[in-house]
């Protein structure tokens, strides 16, 4: 049990930090531009596939730098030539544009790399057990992932607190209506923010790819969870996104590791009852309901705290 | 007789900033009451408080004797208070006709009906046509509201506000941004349409205020410093001081 707790906590924090790499960018973009970027998880997927391809061509370490930059460029292109032209049609049109993009990116990725998982491996240098907890070897690569995401987290904090763009972003987070008064270079700030957000998502993809499965449906799987995270944390709140990322990361990881069901706790139901929704619920394991837990959380938070954990804004 | 609007010791703070402090206001039934004051005095906030757009931090607001502070805007509207907005706030993609007709529907008792054809409700049709006629927009009835000229949108704004037949009408700077001729037309319109109703108006144009109002309240820093007839206000030293030499008459 102690082993499970230690391992799951590590994995949960790791997953949570990965989620935050994505949700932080999404939150900042939403706060500044009012656009909820549906394609954000698709940039994460692009990161993983670019990382995979570049690793095959030039090795993992160059890929780690180049792939996120490429994704950032794609993101800036989307902002400059897509969103900026759609802006005049309103936020719904912008959301729909990113929705269409998410759909198209998934199709393009599966067209180029196929629908089955690609063989994106952990680099040999990091392919060893970092330490052993009880009897489980904890892979060094996961420690590496954790280190990268924590470094990025700190870098983000410093950027927000110490740089001019960071101050603008902060101002935009607290006073979204202010963004219009940023002056003539507001377009460049938007493009930059969108590019950096996309690049962060891409980086998450590059480092998560070898550890998780790199496949053309990875964006469709992660995207909805990401939206749960930012609605749960409160739209437009970075601390909220951080807490929600960690919370959902931990919940998901622990749920997957637990095999208990109502049947295993209270004993099986009388078999004469026959199959019914009750028996389904009675026999389902916590691991099996792990995929729906984030959405259950979403429903709960909407009922009891419609603004999200730390949200202050209506929409 | 109970007052149409009675505001008792209302306070409103946003965070640590107190916008409205100890606000007391009484508007008698049938009275035309103007609220004036320098920019940032809290005139629009007062409107928002009375119409339920925002809730007071403390204090009490009554409409025709009934406590309405804490109620939602549509609940207050159903009790007979209707307001306009300083920034034009119409239904942009709908035609002028549809704009006014939507404002008539609740008052004529059709509510959320999904079994009636709106086009074949005679009293709705008649009332909408009457109001369009009143605001001189009959010839523009099929134009989407978003395509109207500014002055026309302001007139439509007034039309939507009075369409429901509310007994208390609140107009937030109805002539803002209008030319002199347009203003005159709008004032005549307001005078005619609010006949027999209670009117509360926020206005910067002093000629409008003194020409239209039976009583005037002066709001400074979220507090009413004087309330009285136009003559009393004109002669009030505190008002003169607050306007710091600004021309009151």
């Amino acid at each position: 049990m102690a082993e499970l707790i230690v391992i799951s906590t590590l994995n949960g924090v790791l997953f949570g930090m990965l989620l935050f790499l994505l949700s932080s960018g999404l939150t900042v973009i939403f706060s500044m531009m009012g656009v909820l970027n549906f394609a954000h998880a698709s940039f994460y997927m692009l990161g993983a596939f670019f990382g995979y391809q570049l690793t095959r061509w030039i090795g993992f370490w160059p890929a780690l730098v180049i792939a996120p930059l490429l994704v950032g460029v794609v993101g800036m292109g989307v902002e400059r030539y897509g969103l900026r032209n759609t802006h005049k049609h309103g936020h719904v049109a912008e959301l729909l544009l990113t929705f269409g993009l998410a759909f198209a990116i998934e199709e393009i990725v599966s067209m180029i790399w196929g629908k089955s998982p690609v063989d994106y491996r952990v680099p040999a240098v990091l392919d060893f057990p970092a330490f052993t907890v009880f009897s489980t070897n904890y892979p060094a690569y996961k420690i590496f992932m954790l280190v990268v995401s924590v470094v990025i987290f700190i870098a983000l904090l410093v950027t927000l607190k110490r740089t001019r763009v960071g101050l603008i972003v902060q101002a935009a987070l607290t006073h979204p209506s202010m963004v219009g008064h940023l002056g003539h270079n507001v377009g460049r700030v938007f493009m930059l923010v969108f590019g950096v957000g996309s690049a962060l998502a891409g980086l998450a993809g590059v480092i998560a790819g070898p550890s998780l499965v790199t496949q053309s449906d990875m964006a469709a799987y992660l995207g909805p969870i990401l939206f749960v995270v930012i609605v749960f944390g409160g739209l437009g709140s970075l601390p909220g996104a951080f807490i929600a990322s960690l919370l959902i990361g931990l919940i998901q990881t622990f749920a997957v590791a637990l095999n208990g069901s109502l049947a295993s706790v209270f004993g099986p139901l009388d078999p004469s009852l026959g199959p019914s929704p009750l028996t389904d619920i009675w026999n389902v394991t916590i691991a099996q309901i792990a995929p729906i837990l984030p959405y259950l959380l979403l429903v709960l938070v909407l009922i009891f705290r419609p603004m999200g954990l730390l949200g202050t804004r209506e929409s | 007789m109970t007052a149409a609007i009675q505001v008792n010791a209302v306070e409103k703070s946003f965070g640590n900033v107190q916008i409205i402090r100890d606000l007391n206001l009484s508007v008698a039934k049938g009275e035309r009451h103007a609220i004036i004051g320098p920019n940032g005095a809290g005139k629009s906030t007062t409107f928002n408080l009375i119409s339920g757009h925002i809730k007071p931090t403390s204090g009490e607001i009554r409409l025709n004797g009934e406590v309405t502070s804490g109620l939602r805007p549509f609940e207050i509207n159903r009790r007979g208070l209707s307001r306009s907005f300083q920034v034009t706030n119409v239904f942009a993609r709908m035609t002028v006709w549809e704009n006014v007709r939507c404002a008539v529907l609740w008052a004529t008792g059709h509510r959320y009906a999904f079994w009636k054809n709106t086009d074949s409700l005679p009293e709705v049709k008649q009332r909408t046509a009457q109001i369009l006629d009143d605001i001189h927009l009959s010839h523009r009835r099929d134009v989407p509201a978003g395509l109207l000229t500014y002055a026309e949108q302001r007139e439509l704004e007034i039309g939507i506000t009075i369409a429901g037949g509310a007994s208390v009408i609140m107009l937030d700077e109805p002539t803002a941004g209008m030319s002199h001729a347009e203003t005159e037309r709008a004032v005549a319109l307001i005078r005619r349409l609010t006949e027999g109703r209670t009117l509360v108006i926020v206005e910067h144009d002093m000629s409008v205020v003194f020409g239209l109002a039976d009583r005037i309240s002066v709001l400074v820093y979220g507090h009413i410093i004087a309330s009285g007839t136009p003559e009393e206000i004109r002669g009030n030293p505190k008002v003169k001081e607050a306007y710091l030499g600004e021309e009151v008459d």
Binding site: T86, A104 | R72, F74
Partner: protein
């Protein structure tokens, strides 16, 4: 903008012709639905018509949310799918108990299923509009789709639940075994649902839905609670989506978890938006086009879904009014008789635009078939995906087409402005 006296004249004409035109359109639609299978009687076209009919109801129901109330839902398939599941369960129950309920009533059961779910979750969901509603609809969609795989006794797991539509009591000798009988069942429901949904837009609720779409804040000051309006709209949308789901269950004699999924929600969004949300008939056009493309493209290319994405992005960026919006833009020009002055510029613009589109198609197919597959056949010209000449052709078409198209479309805009000015001067709004 001066106050031209003539628009009211045009409006009066419109109104007097309204009632006749109104019933005429529905009568024509009814005749078309009856006659269609007599003209195109092959099994394949009957299947296509059935699917298109269902897609029309589904898309119209979606537009109650998106076009009429301004609610962007990413989970509309939930009500559709639940309607389908309820229909299948009721059909099986009716068959096993020999209840005297004929098949044509079953879609109504689907509708009730869709509406019941909306009744249950709608109040919480519609508390807020805009982006938050969009995200919640996505979350609820995922929740229901994932839950359906857990509740195997209700949803039948991966394989779904089957039924036999002929096991219900026959009606006037119709067993609904042959596809033609199913087609007429669907056609009947298409007509009834479309009329009902059109009527809904004319009711006080329908009008207030539009007001909520345009300006929910102001609605509160004319006596309405926008939350209640959104909730009611959500329930009606759920009802008609459920009818579409029930018809699908009858058509395929199965309901499975894919009915509830994100893919299905995405396609109804595509159909509705491509068709155009601002006009009632927009989603009908969209449903016909998207279903037709879906059926046609699967045989031609393996990446047909990508084409939907590309078309959708194109519509969002360049014609957010959809097909209906493009068509209706021309109405004042037709009325004023100035359309003729625009057509030449359209014809000129069509050539480079077509070249650009062909270039995109060639590029997509080149990538798709690079590592194997049949040679590309574009307008009868064969291309080999691995040949550099093909890449060059694609590049020339895309880049050249785009650059020239941009110039010609500017010409179109100029011609358009002139024609619209004339139309305005003649008293037709443009």
């Amino acid at each position: 903008m001066t106050n031209a006296p003539t628009p009211s004249l045009a409006a009066a004409k419109q109104e007097s012709g309204g009632a006749l035109g109104f019933y005429g359109v529905w009568l024509l639609a009814a005749i078309a639905l009856v006659v269609l299978p007599l003209i195109f009687s092959s099994g394949g076209s009957l299947t296509s018509f059935s699917l298109i009919g269902i897609a029309i109801i589904f898309a119209l129901s979606y537009n109650i949310l998106l076009g009429q109330t301004g609610l962007l839902s990413f989970g509309h398939a939930v009500q559709y799918g639940l309607g389908g599941f309820l229909a299948v369960h009721v059909m099986n129950a009716v068959a096993s108990h020999n209840w005297p309920i004929p098949l044509p009533v079953i879609p109504l059961v689907g509708g009730i299923g869709g509406m019941a779910f909306a009744l249950l979750v709608g109040w919480v969901m519609t508390k807020r509009a805009g982006t938050v509603f969009a995200m919640i609809s996505l979350g609820i969609g995922e929740l229901v789709a994932s839950s359906s795989l857990i509740l195997r006794s209700v949803f039948g797991g991966e394989s779904g639940i089957t039924t036999d539509r002929t096991s219900l009591m026959p009606l006037f000798g119709w067993t609904f075994g042959p596809q033609i009988q199913v087609y007429y069942l669907i056609a009947f429901w298409v007509l009834v649902s479309a009329i009902a949904m059109y009527a809904l837009t004319r009711t006080p609720l329908g009008r207030i839905c539009n007001a909520v779409r345009d300006n929910p804040e102001r609605v509160e000051f004319i006596g309405y609670d926008p939350h209640v309006v959104r909730y009611l709209a959500y329930m009606f949308a759920g009802f008609f989506a459920g009818i579409a789901g029930g018809l699908t269950a009858i058509n395929f004699e199965i309901a499975n978890s894919a009915y509830l999924g994100a893919m299905q929600s995405g396609f109804v969004l595509f159909s509705t938006f491509i068709g155009g949300t601002a006009y009632f008939f927009g989603p009908i056009l969209g449903a016909i086009l998207v279903t037709y493309l879906q059926l046609g493209l699967t045989n031609v290319t393996s990446v047909w879904q990508l084409y939907f994405g590309v078309i959708f992005i194109g519509i969002v960026m360049f014609a957010p009014g959809g097909i209906a919006g493009i068509l209706m833009k021309h109405r004042p020009l037709i009325r004023a008789g100035t359309l003729g002055t625009v057509i030449p510029s359209y014809l000129v613009a069509a050539i480079p635009t077509l070249a650009f589109a062909l270039g995109i198609i060639l590029a997509i197919e080149t990538v798709a078939r690079f590592s194997g597959g049949d040679p590309i056949n574009l307008l009868g010209i064969p291309f080999v995906a691995t040949a550099p000449t093909t890449w060059a052709a694609a590049a020339v078409l895309v880049v050249g087409g785009f650059l020239i198209a941009r110039i010609t479309w500017r010409r179109v805009a100029e011609a358009w402005d002139r024609a619209a000015t004339v139309a305005r001067d003649r008293g037709y709004l443009a």
